[in-house]
Symmetry: D2
Subunit: 347 residues, 4 copies
C-alpha cells in the first residue's frame, strides 16, 4: 500500500492537531508545513515530530509533485484560492469549515474541485463523534422511524475574543454552521427553509459587531420534518452539545460527555462534575477519525464522508439564517442562493 | 374556619377528578354537580361520594345562595357565559383551560370577573407539578441567572379521536396552550412575538380538519429571552413533558417521570421502563395541588396562583401562533389581538 | 360484596397511617381504635375521620363480634399475646414487623394463627413499593436468569432517639430485618447462612446499648446465590434504599426516588435534589397497597402476600446475624433456631 | 532532561500495550524487548515501532548497562526472580500484578528492591482510571467525611479460558486482587480482616480447578470502616466496574463507562448501549497514565504511585480471602501471613 504524502497549510491550533493525528497513522507522511507566521517556535514543534520542511509560503506545497494531499487550515479568506490552486495541482484536499464567507465563491471552489477530479473533505468533525455517530446510525437503521422533529443544542463554554468576533462571519456562519450540518446528517434530509432570531444577552461586544450571542433557528426539511437549533456563546457549566431526533417509532437523544461518572451525595444534594469543557478535549477522537477516514478514502479511492456539497449546504443555510434575522421572516434556501447570485453578478 | 361549598358544572373526566380531589380537602363541601348528560351512572358515582344534588341544569348551582364557588368543567363553548353568570352571582370560579376559543369573548369574561370582584383560577395544572414547580423555583431564586433560552417539549402518547380533533381548536389552542403558559411561568416574562410552523406527519386526519400533528413555535420574550416549544400528537414511548431554562449563570432542565427507577442490563443493552403514559397519572398530584390552592385562596382571601390574565395570555399566544402558520411569518401578540378586535367589531 | 370491619390496636404513627389508608378503601369500616395512651388528641383525630370507638383497652376490639380483622400496631412486646388472642377470637390479623424479639415466641404465635385458620399478614411494606416490586417481577419473569448476587443498600436518614435504640432489638432485628425479607423476596430463595459484622462510627450511644450503627451482612441462599446487605443509621443525603440482583442473563437494579427530576447545571457542577428523606414519604404508596391487598385477600379468601412464615424467616435471619457478630463467624439459620429452642427449653 | 531507556520482558498483550504507551512518551526509549516465544511476528511488530533489539532471553536486558528500567510483563512465576535480578542490576522496575503467588516469595522480592534502592511500581492500573481517581480525590478532600462503608463491584464480561483458570491462582489472587487494592486506595486505610465466600454458578469448569466464579468478600479496615466486594466471572451486559464510598458526610459512587450517551426511546422502553466491554478499551487511558507516572517518578526521583507494599497488601488480602473460604470464617491478614511464614519455614 502506498504512502500518502501530506502538506499542511496553516499551523495554528487546528493545523497542529491534524498534523499530530496524521503522524499517528500508518501510510502517511507529513512532508511540509507552511504558515505565514512560521518562526523558531514552529521549527521546534516540527523537529520534535520529524517534519522537515517548514515554510511561510504555501506555494512550495502546491508545487511539490511529491505531495498527494493538502490540509487547508489557514484563515477562511484563503480557502477558496487555495482549493482552486490545489485542485489545479491535482492534490486531494481537506479543508476546514467554512469553505468561504461567500456562497458564490464556495461554488467556484467546488467547480474547480469537480473539474480536477480530486477529493475534497470538509472539516465537520462532529459527524465522527461517538455520540452523534450513534444518533445517525439509529436513525438510519429505522429504529425510530421517519424523523419528525430534530432538536440540536450547541453552546460554547466561553465567548470568543473580540478580535475573532470581528472576522468570524457571525454566529450562523461561525458557530451554527456545525449544527446545520448536523441537522442534515442526522435527519437524512435537505433543509428547505429556515427562520432564525436571536439576542445579545451575554456581552454587548456582539452588538458592536452586528452579531448575536444567543440564537434559535427553526428548520423545515424537504421530507416534511421540522427542526430547531439553539446556540449560546457562553455556557458556564461547560461545552453543551446535544441532539435529539424524534420520529414515528421513537426517539434518540444524546447528552454530554463528562470527565468521569462520579456522583457525589451530600447534605447539599447530588452532584456530578461538569461536562468536558473544551472542544479539543470533547472532539479529540472525532478529529482523529475524520483524518483517518480522509486518508483511507484516498488510499481506496472512495468518496469522502463529508464532501464539498455538505460544506455548501451548511453555508447556504447559514446565509439564509442571517437573511432571516435581517428580514424577520422565514427564508427558503433557494431564495437566499438566488439573491446571492444576483448580488454577485451585479458586483 | 368556614367551609367552602362548591358546585361542579360538567362531570366528565376532569370534573370528576376535581370532585374527588375536593372531597379529600378539609373545609370543602361538594354541594351539587350538574351535567347535561347526568343519568343513573352519575347518580351512582355521586352516591358513593355522598354528593346529594345531581342535575342536568347548571342554573341550580348558579342560583343556589349556599354555593361559594363553581368549577367550570363543561365544554369550552360554555365557559364564557358560565363565567359571566357565576361572576354576576358572586361566586368564585375555577375554570378549565382555555377560557374560550375567541380572545374578545375571553376579554368579556374577564371584565365580568373583575367587575364582580370574585376570584377566577384557570386550570393550568402543570404549574403545580413537582418538576415544573422546581424549575420555576430555581429560576426565581436566581441560581441560573437571567433566562436566555427557554425550551419546552410536550408530546402526547396518542393522538385524540377525530371527534375531538374537529372541535379542539387546533394544536395551538388545544395542546400548545399549556406550553405557552409554561413558557411565561418559568421565564418570568411576557411573550411578545411568536413564529410557528408544523407538519402533518402522523395521521392525515389532521389535514382533513385543517390541523397539524407536529409543530414548533419559537418565542421572543419581553425581557429579550428567546424560546422554543415542540409538540407532537404521538410519542410512542409515552407522555413526554420536559422543560429547560438556560441562563447567564447556568441551566435547569427536567426529564420525565417514570413508574419506577429499575434499570435492566442484559446482553441487548441497558433498559428502563417508559415514562408515565397518561396525563392523569402524570399530573395526579398537580390536580390535587391546584384544587387545594384555589380553596386556600378563597379561605384566606388571597390572589389565585393562575389568574384570568394567565388564561388570556396563553390564549393570545395560541391565536398568534395560528396566525403565524397562516401568514408564514412571525406575529406579535399585540398584532394578533388588534386583528381579533377588528374582526369582532366587524361581526 | 361484604364490608370488612376493622379494629386498630395502637394509634401511633404507623397505626394512624393504616387507619387513613383503610378509610379510603371501599368495603372497609374502621370500627374501633385502641391505644394505651388514648386521650383528647386522639379523640379529635378520630372524630375528624368518623371513627366512633376510641379506647385504652384492646380487649374491647378482641371481644367485639362485629370486628373481622385487627391491625396490631402496638409495641413489639405486645404482638405475640395479641396475635394469640385475635386468632382465638377468629379475627384476621395484620401485624407490624417484627412479630417478636424471640423466635420461639414467634413460633407460638404462628401456631395459634394456623390452628385458628385466620389470615396473618406481616407489615413488610417495601414489597409493595413500585421499585422493589419491579425488581421482583423482572427476576420472576426470567429476564436476568438465575440470580447469582443479591445486593441491598438500606440507610436511614437519621439515627433513632436513644429511647428507641434501647428497646429496638438492635440493628439486625429493627432495621436489617426489612432487608432480610427483601433478600428472600427478590431472590426467590431461602437464606441458609449469614455472616454479619459492623461498627459504631456515627454515635457512641449505640455502643452504650450494645448496638451497631453501621453493618454488613453476607448471605448464602439455598439455591447457591450469594448476597450482601449494608446498613447505616445515618445517610446525610437522605433515605437510601437500593437493591440489585445480578444473574446469569443480566442484572436489575433500582436507584432512589427523588422529589423531582430537575438537573441544575452551574459553574459548580451538575446538581440534583436529594432523594426523598422520610420513610413515610418514600413508602406512602406501598403502605396504601399493602393495606388494600390485605383487605382483598380477606374479601376473596386468598393467601396473603406476606405471611407469618415470611415474618419468621426474616426474624430468624436477624437472630443468626446477631449471633454471627457475637461469634465472629458465619451462622446457619438452622443452628440459630436450634440454639434458641434449647435456650427456651432451659428457661 | 535525560532519556529513560527501557527494556520490556514479556511481549504478550500487556507487554505490547506498555511498549506502545512508552513509545508515545517524550524522554523514553524502548531499547530491547525479550519474549520466550519471540519470532517473525514480533520482529514485524518491533520493526513498525523502530524497536531494534528483540530476543528470547531476558538476560540481555538485565546485563545491558544502557537500560535504566525494566517492565516485567512475563508470566507470574517469573516475576520474583526477575525482580531480584533487575534490582541487583540497579534497574528500576515496573511489574505486573501479582508479584507472586506466594507471599513469602513476594517479601523476598521486596527485600531485594529495598536493598538495591531501585524503584518498583506494581501494575494496579485502575488507580489511574478517571472514575476511580475521582472517588479517591473526593474521599481525600474530605467531601464525604470519614469513610464508613466501601462497596466494590467487579464483574468480567467473559470467563477466562480453562488453560488460564488452571494457572490463574483462583478468583481472589487473579481477579479480586484488583479490588483489594482499590479498597485500600479509596478507603485510605489498611485491611485488617476478610471474610469471603462464593459459588460456582456459571461454569462447572471452575469447580474442576478448585476455583469459584462468583464471590463476595467483606472487609474490616483498621480505621473501623467496613467493606464488601463482589466478583463475577461473567457479566453478559459487559465489563462492570463500580465503587461506592459512604461516609459520615456523604457518599461518592461511580457507574460504568459507556461507548456513547445515546438514549433510545421506543414502544419497548428506554434503552442505552451496554458499558464498554473489554478491559483494554475501558482502561486504555489508565494504562497510559500509569506508564507516564512511572517514567516521571524515575526522571524526578519521586516515590512511585503504587509501590511494592501495595502489591504485598493486596496479595496478602487475597491469601486471607482464600483461607477464609477454606475455613469458612473471617481471617485476619496477620494470621494469614503468620501461617504462610510457618509453612515456608517448614518447606
Amino acid at each position: 500500500m502506498k504512502t500518502i504524502r501530506v502538506g499542511i497549510i496553516g499551523a495554528g491550533r487546528i493545523g497542529k492537531i491534524h498534523a499530530d493525528n496524521l503522524l499517528r497513522l500508518p501510510h502517511v507522511q507529513v512532508v511540509e508545513v507552511s504558515d505565514l507566521f512560521a518562526g523558531p517556535e514552529l521549527e521546534v514543534w516540527a523537529a520534535e515530530r520529524g517534519i522537515k520542511q517548514i515554510t511561510t509560503d504555501s506555494n512550495g506545497i502546491m508545487e511539490n509533485p511529491d505531495i498527494d494531499a493538502v490540509f487547508i487550515c489557514s484563515s477562511t479568506d484563503t480557502h477558496v484560492p487555495l482549493i482552486i490552486q490545489a485542485a489545479a495541482a491535482g492534490k486531494h484536499i481537506f479543508c476546514e469549515k467554512p469553505i468561504s464567507m461567500n456562497i458564490t465563491q464556495t461554488q467556484k471552489a467546488l467547480q474547480a474541485v469537480e473539474a480536477a477530479g480530486v477529493k475534497l473533505q470538509i472539516g465537520f468533525n462532529r459527524r465522527f463523534d461517538h455520540n452523534f455517530k450513534r444518533v445517525y446510525e439509529i436513525v438510519q437503521n429505522g429504529t425510530i422511524g421517519d424523523p419528525h422533529l430534530i432538536k440540536i443544542t450547541s453552546r460554547d463554554p466561553n465567548p470568543p475574543h473580540e478580535d475573532y468576533i470581528k472576522v468570524s462571519g457571525g454566529i450562523f456562519k461561525d458557530m451554527m454552521i456545525h449544527d446545520f450540518d448536523m441537522a442534515r446528517f442526522v435527519s437524512g434530509s435537505e433543509i428547505e427553509e429556515v427562520y432564525a432570531h436571536g439576542s445579545v444577552l451575554i456581552d454587548p461586544v456582539f452588538t458592536t459587531h452586528g452579531d448575536l450571542d444567543t440564537a434559535i433557528a427553526t428548520l423545515r426539511f424537504k421530507n416534511g420534518a421540522i427542526g430547531v437549533i439553539d446556540n449560546s456563546r457562553q455556557s458556564v457549566y461547560g461545552y453543551d452539545q446535544r441532539v435529539e431526533v424524534f420520529g414515528l417509532k421513537g426517539s434518540v437523544g444524546i447528552t454530554n460527555d463528562h470527565p468521569n461518572t462520579a456522583e457525589i451525595s451530600t447534605v447539599d444534594g447530588i452532584m456530578r462534575d461538569k461536562p468536558l469543557n473544551f472542544f479539543l478535549e470533547r472532539y479529540n477522537e472525532a478529529y482523529i477519525e475524520e483524518t483517518k477516514l480522509f486518508i483511507e478514502c484516498i488510499l481506496n479511492d472512495q468518496h469522502v464522508p463529508v464532501d464539498g456539497n455538505d460544506g455548501f449546504q451548511a453555508e447556504l443555510t447559514a446565509l439564509a439564517a442571517g437573511l432571516s434575522v435581517k428580514l424577520n421572516r422565514p427564508v427558503k434556501l433557494a431564495e437566499a442562493l438566488e439573491l446571492s447570485i444576483q448580488q454577485s453578478m451585479k458586483a
